[in-house]
Amino acid sequence: MSDADDSSGWRGRVTRVLDRLTSASARERLAISLSALVLSVAVGAVLIYGAGLATTCRRAAFLGSCYDPFVVYDQLFFRSFGNLLADPTNPKAATTLGEATILVCTGLSVAVAFKAGVFNIGTQGQLVVGALATAVVTYAVSQTLAGPLATVVSLPVGVLTGAVTGGLYGAIPGALKAYADANEVITTIMLNFVATNLALFAVQAAFKDPESVATQTRRLPAFAQFPRVVFPETADFSIVALALAVTLAVAAAYLLAATAFGYDVRTSGLQSAAAEYGGVDAKRTTVAAMTLSGALGGVGGAIYVLMKLGNFQTNVPAYGFDGITVTILAGNNPLGVLAAGLLFGVLKSGSINVSVATDVPPELVGVIRGLIVLFVAMPEFFRLIARRYTSDDSPGETAVTDGGRPTDDERPGSDDRPTDDGRSTDDTQGGTERPPDGDTGSDDGGVSP
């Protein structure tokens, strides 16, 4: 903090704000994410129980309800890795890790945009176009290749195709936001619908597998897909793909934390006016961040095709929307995305177990996903509970839950207090002339150390 004070002007001030936000609230964010998760699971349990009461069955499973929440959650959370002792590479573990790999990519995609103050709901669309382009280009390339080195050529081409296509598709809403002030929340959602329909059209019109009745592209040869390495050939998971996703997470963390570009991204996310003043081209940063975000979504699509499917099929699961939840749960931290991505991988593969082992509709996971987003979005709720249950005599406890931030009583009249990650999206809303002082920076800057 003291270093930042020496450097005068906006740049120093913004750095100070960043330091405060990242260091002070890291533990609090973790606490909020975990509380939100627990609360969502609890609400979900009530929902399962209630739904079980509403249905009819021969024999009640749990307190008069047809569904037993404990059985459901056991399947959802604890059966996702199968029997690791007997066979560490069993199909269930492979499915879980495979889902997690893709979700890390989509989570990173949303996180990078979020850091720049852009709310990219369009990762789903970017993933779809990336996946389709990967399937088409990889097929074309694989037809010209043979021999032991074919994988070495074809795989990078496929992943790169996904990244470039997704990146270009992500650049559209980025440019629309930067240069035409079009609200990216709406444009990206619209582009999701467009991507789904365009992909359907492209497959039907040009790239359909003539030997299949389903709307899908031609099957890629095995050498063009991610090599399975440790896992059996039948597994829909590849260690190589996981390694790629982890590398991307580490690279994104480094890029955001330690490079000039990362600085531009974070400052324009926190306070675009201040960033401009400090010499950051906020518009170009917005487009660049959205391109990068789209590229990460596109890589997710490439991995989906090259690891899971082996071709492109038009009914793409909602990886992009899960990516939003992953990011929000991870507090926008690229390394946190790894943990949250794994958790959602567990949930996704767990929902398959739920539908196999119980009568509970697997759509349950969608509800829990929404609840998590809602609860993480309201940190004040958990602060209130923490305040109520920690007595005022134990300041140590309060400090943890409160992130060491001044409480209401100490700061009368501050109606624009910085809360969590949500604040960074402030100037994204409506994409219109908002007063720059309604944001985190000015408020925090007012409290001189």
Binding site: N183, F193, T325, M378, F381, D426
Partner: protein, 380 residues
Amino acid sequence: MSDEASTSGSESDESGETNGSDSLVERGRRGVAAWFADAGLTGYLGVFTLAVAVATTVFGLLVPESLPGAIVAILLSEGTLAATLRRTVPIAFAALGGIFAEKAGVINIGLEGLLIVSAFVAAAAAHFLGSVWLGLAAGVLASVLLALLFAVACIEFRADQIIAGLAIWLIALGLAPFASVVFFGSKNTPTIDSFGTITIPILSELPVVGAVFDASPMVFLLFVAVAGSWWLLNRTTFGRWVRASGENPDALDTAGVNVSRVRYAAVTLSGLLAGIGGAALSISLRGFTGNGPTMVNGRGFIAIVTYLFGNYDPIGALLSTMLFTSLTQLQLELQASGVLSVPSSLVRTIPFLTVIVVLALFGKTRIPAAAGDHFESGEE
């Protein structure tokens, strides 16, 4: 790009706001004048579009067998107007709801979720209770409850409005198919009865506009709701509070009005209106379908764009919704009549692309100054 054009546009809006006696026509005239004065890209495009539309109409009337002729014939047919009105109902109701919430300072991006929940609950309740009107009531109730959850999160617990709204959408997107499978064993509800039609004698015999007077009760309800919303926003104390709560909550607070309570009321009202829209959607289509993005399929998001485009005015929102739905209907009919032969997957992208283009050209509407911000009274 169109910086100057929109700045002067919003200036004229503000002056219209301050001396409220200005008529809508006067404001519109000045807005148009400002556009032409600045002659930004937006202005040129607007003039160009209008010129194309006029040329198409004239040419179409003169040469009925041509493509423009087919377009004009479709536009003038009663079926088109009737279908356009039917398509307008859910979007326009959601847009009205969005106006109240956002005017009060709460950006309600969860409209889509409210539509989904009310569409499902209305269809399910209509099935179990055997009455479409009870279904409508149940759908509205469900939407209001979800809107209240959103309001508590945003107002009481200071949640980020965009994220909380997104959560409302995601919850509804999971909950409706979940409940449908629990109750009906399928993501779709069984077929239910629909609303009848109300036919007004004599007026319904009129050419072209006759369809307006021979329509679902929901269409009439929409007209009532639009007029009522306009009156409520512009002519009542509550409307003044709502606007103040979005523009200058501190002033409203100083005047002794509870800002939170106004915002609660506005968000509840948005739940009520969106609820009618969602229920009307599923009941008029005789059931709820819950695959993929469900039968609501982005209508809530389109509603947000139409009220932005309609500049937060209930009448403007209705007109821009109708513009949007009539374009959708036109391309569908062109498709059906074989005039155009474009694959349906491509055609389906048109509404979404239209929204993006509209946002890019007119995205700079002046949103309420305090929209998106949490408000906290000085006294606690």
